[in-house]
């Protein structure tokens, strides 16, 4: 009984950390341009396919090959996703900055479709196996009822430092301060001499980079990727961002962990097939009773 609970809690926290990493990309972009970037989940999916291709090129038969491949992916995928995200912002969203709210949102859905189609061509319509490079051995000893593997540690080991780094970045650097200023009031920020277009670009780059990192971690952890994984995981991550209070960085982390736990406990105690629906029920309930999310500030809709 307790073991089951502990086991699913471990599962929930690791997947939750992953959702949190993706959720950060949603929340940062939303915080600054008030756009639900529907394409973010699919950007994450493309990152995973890049990782798959790179690992195939490097070759993962040997130990050094694997280490080299993972290291390469952890650098290349975030860069790729960041560049792609900035490019899309530049080409698609920037011309719509002053358009009605629906326009960039619908464009984002369009970008998501285009990405999904690219993923379909890249990886084909079926699930693709991602190389299983990390040992599955139980670190608590094979006799222990609760399994904690190197994969779980890897997820936490990549996500937590990134989140800490992001928080420090936004809090203490010049660019981070410019981001917070732009999020609060773009016009005032511009008047203070902040190049808001550059700040928005940097936000897209950071969000995309985190998504790229998440994609590598996801591939190594789950070991299957498909062109449709962006939609599902993006939806969970976005839910996490809203649950925590969209625009809030600690909120996204908290939301991600909660969503991970709800899913894990849901599949333990309600049934695996209901866990997805459970997430959205929680979301609707939270939005009804606390529309700004758990840690969101009570802002008014801009008129």
């Amino acid at each position: 009984m307790l073991e089951t609970f502990a086991q699913y809690t471990v599962l929930g926290l690791t997947t939750g950390a992953l959702f949190a990493l993706i959720a950060l990309g949603y929340t940062m972009v939303y915080g600054i341009v008030e756009l639900i970037n529907f394409a973010h989940g699919d950007l994450f999916m493309l990152g995973a396919f890049l990782a798959l291709t790179l690992l195939g090129l490097v070759g993962t038969d040997t130990f050094t090959g694997s280490v080299l491949g993972i290291a390469l992916c952890l650098v290349a995928c975030p860069l790729f996703c960041a560049a792609l995200n900035v490019g899309v912002d530049h080409v698609v969203y920037r011309p719509l900055r002053t358009a009605p709210r629906l326009a960039p949102l619908v464009s984002a859905i369009g970008v998501s479709f285009v990405f999904m189609n690219v993923g379909l061509f890249w990886g084909g319509p079926m699930d693709v196996n991602f190389p299983n490079l990390l040992p599955d051995a139980n670190l608590l000893g094979e006799g222990s009822a609760v399994r904690v593997t190197a994969k779980d540690l890897m997820v936490v080991g990549v996500t937590v430092p990134l989140m800490v780094a992001l928080t420090l970045f936004v809090k203490f650097t010049r660019l981070g301060r410019a981001m917070r200023a732009t999020a609060q009031d773009p016009t005032a920020a511009k008047l203070m001499g902040i190049d808001t277009d550059r700040v928005i670009g940097a936000t897209f780059a950071l969000g995309g980079g985190l998504g790229g990192a998440a994609s590598v971690v996801y591939g190594l952890y789950v070991n299957t990727v498909s062109y449709q994984m962006g939609f599902q995981n993006g939806l969970y991550a976005f839910t996490a961002a809203v649950l925590g209070g969209i625009g809030s960085i600690p909120g996204a982390v908290l939301g991600g962990l909660l969503i991970g736990l709800v899913r894990a406990w849901g599949s333990a105690y309600v049934g695996e097939r209901w866990s997805g629906a459970l997430v959205f029920v929680v979301l609707i309930v939270v939005l009804v009773f606390r529309p700004t999310g758990l840690l969101g500030s009570r802002t008014r809709e801009k008129v």
Partner: protein
Amino acid sequence: MTVADTAMKPRGLGWEAAAFLILLLYPLFPVFEGGFLAATGRSLGDQFPTVFVFAVLALGLNVVVGYTGILHLGIAAFFAIGAYAAGILTVASYPFGAPFLVTLVVGTVAAALVGLLLGAPTLRLRGDYLALVTLGFGEVVKAFLKNAEEITAGTRGLSPVPPPTESLDWASDYRPFYYLTLGVLIVVYLLLRNIEWSRLGRAWVAIREDELAAACMGLNPAKLKLAAFALGSGLAGLAGVLYATRLTSTSDPNAYDFNRSIFLLCCVILGGLASRPGVLLGVFLLVGFDNILSPILDGLVQRNVPGAGEKIYMTFTGWRLMVFGLALILMMRFRPEGLIPSSRVRRELHPDGTQT
């Protein structure tokens, strides 16, 4: 005439009436049907009921997205409620055996009621959150349809849904469904035309354009949005009943997923938000792309390029998402008011009178 005058009165039906007339006459001239069949190997008349059913659904979505400006990402859920209402009321595993007209009414009312229940607590949320609630609701409904097998028969779907009457040949002749669905579409179209220019319709547009100003003029945005939500959901339910009856099955829950909702949203946006003729054109084009154009082109490519079918990028259907995605992006960039814009939306988007 001033702007206000033209805005208050319905335009004449004009070429919309002509389009409906052509559709009404189409089955009377089997030469078209036969010619198309001979040229492409597919029946055009068989595709039209699908277009009409989705047109009713899209018009329902348009009430919410077009008139009141709420982004609704879960219309398929209400479509499903209508379809499953028809299934539960008619299939042999349930004791009801209701006649078609009853299922039509119950499906519509049930979907509208669920719309009210979902809308009442959530419609005060700001736009993006509301969009997410509708999306989440769609996923919950789909999960329910898939997993509550005792009620919905899971992935098999409820079947067989009997034809509307016993007297006509509904299965092999396309015409009874053609006229049934076209009739419903015309009624819905005219109903919406009247609502659009009524007090209610004008109030919807007012809250879309400026909720704060509309509230200051004494309108109640919450109530108005709820009315739009209920009407849109009800129409989606109506379309769902027709859909299930035509397929003689509620089909698999995946027919009511997020892709369906987005597909309908694409139709509405491509054709023109808040523009009834635009919505019809959007449905016609996109269903045509899916059900007629891409299968025909796929057939052509496969006959002429050996081995093309094995590579997904050599099939037309493989490019579907790309085409839809690019269409959405380009429309938003260059013609956000849609192919046949509603005059009001065009004025909103091009306030200085410029045309792009």
